[in-house]
């Protein structure tokens, strides 16, 4: 009964829908990254990161592996973002 809802107004508003939205946004973005490409992509990404880390200290999210399948051929795009200070160190 709406009349009694009046007393519930003092209660905290449930914010679980906001939590759901946040979790889903992250999850769906991850799903989309992983989807469509071959199974070995995550492992490839991890190993590439390890190899690069032997030479340069970079964060986990700085290696991006993107797989595009087209008609006849597919492309694998690897993007590695290097920190600024590396270039500065080399220049000096």
């Amino acid at each position: 009964m709406r009349f009694f809802d009046w007393f519930r107004l003092s209660r905290r508003r449930d914010d679980s829908a906001d939590k759901a939205r946040e979790r889903l946004t992250v999850l769906v973005a991850l799903d989309r990254q992983g989807g469509g490409g071959p199974d070995f992509l995550p492992l490839l990404q991890k190993e590439l990161l390890e190899v690069i880390r032997k030479y340069v200290e970079i964060d986990q999210d700085k290696v991006n592996v993107d797989f595009q399948s087209g008609t006849g051929f597919s492309t694998l795009e690897v993007n590695v973002e290097l920190p600024n200070r590396l270039l500065e160190a080399r220049a000096s």
Binding site: M1, R2, F3, D5, R13, D14, D15, S16, A17, D18, A20, R21, R23, L24, T25, L27, V28, D31, R32, G35, G36, S69, T71
Partner: protein
């Protein structure tokens, strides 16, 4: 030009069959020659929702594998002109669906019907692939709930990569969001994902929002598509969705709180 529309979701229990039955019926009520096909081989339920379960003699699988003519398996609805149902088999499994067999049936139906509604099984196994393969458009049925939204996103990925249109490099399957079991009270209390949240995540246009409504269960109890219940809000929302499918520009209903008088407000009266 006939259109093949798959009603799909990934997740089970979100209202695919209810929606396929309701939208198919609504299209037929608008004068479009419509057939609804049950692709859920082994878990035949469309006939039950449509109330023609006792009239099934031959089915989709008999047409594909046993040389039964399509006209022997099609069931004409007794309430709505222009509406037919193609039931599936309750005893066989998804392997009974062959790519060529399904293609042949769809091609034949295209000659006779304006709209071919494919009611997909849940999951992303063979049955679901078969149901979406020939689609020109897809209605992605989603509940405002995390697992359903995630699965819908997965199905959207499959539609854009595994459908016939994708394989042939044709224009992509046109996708529509149908948000079902929408409980406005819970949305307002912050307990349920709202339409805008789901739209933002899935990024496809909305075909309709179906309010949570007791009349849906009632209609299924009776074997009557919910659009035939004039008093049902869900039925009205499905009719709106069908009209949008036909290209009409209709404002969404049941997504904003109704204005209520003081007495209604005090006693929380709702239709």
């Amino acid at each position: 030009m006939s259109k093949v529309i798959v009603v799909t979701s990934g997740k089970g229990g979100v209202g695919k069959t209810t929606s396929a039955a309701a939208i198919g019926t609504a299209l037929a009520l608008r004068g479009k020659k419509t057939v609804i096909i049950d692709f859920d081989v082994g878990l035949r339920n469309l006939d039950l929702i449509m109330g023609c379960e006792r009239r099934v003699v031959f089915d989709f699988i008999n047409v594909i594998n046993d040389g039964i003519r399509l006209n022997q398996a099609l069931i004409k609805d007794k309430r709505v002109e222009n509406l037919s149902i193609l039931p599936t088999s309750q005893t066989r499994d998804k392997d009974a669906l062959s790519q060529e067999g399904v293609e042949k049936v769809i091609d034949e139906l295209r000659k006779e019907f304006d709209y071919i509604i494919c009611d997909s099984p849940a999951g992303i196994e063979k049955g679901a692939y078969m149901a979406l393969y020939h689609a020109d458009e897809a209605i992605v049925v989603t509940n405002p709930e995390v697992s359903s939204v995630r699965d819908s996103d997965r199905i959207l990925g499959i539609l854009s990569s595994k459908s016939k249109r994708a394989e042939h490099g044709d224009a992509p399957v046109k996708t529509h969001l149908l948000l079902t079991r929408y409980d406005l009270d819970r949305v307002q209390r912050g307990e349920m994902l709202k339409l805008d949240d789901v739209l933002e995540i899935l990024a496809i246009p909305v075909l309709g929002v179906i309010p949570q409504c007791g009349s849906v269960l009632q209609a299924s109890n009776l074997g009557m598509p919910v659009v035939l219940d004039d008093k049902s809000k869900a039925g009205q929302a499905y009719k709106d969705a069908a009209a949008r499918l036909l290209g009409e520009d209709i404002e969404l209903r049941f997504v904003n709180p109704e204005k209520r008088g003081l007495v209604d407000w005090l006693f929380r009266r709702s239709a």
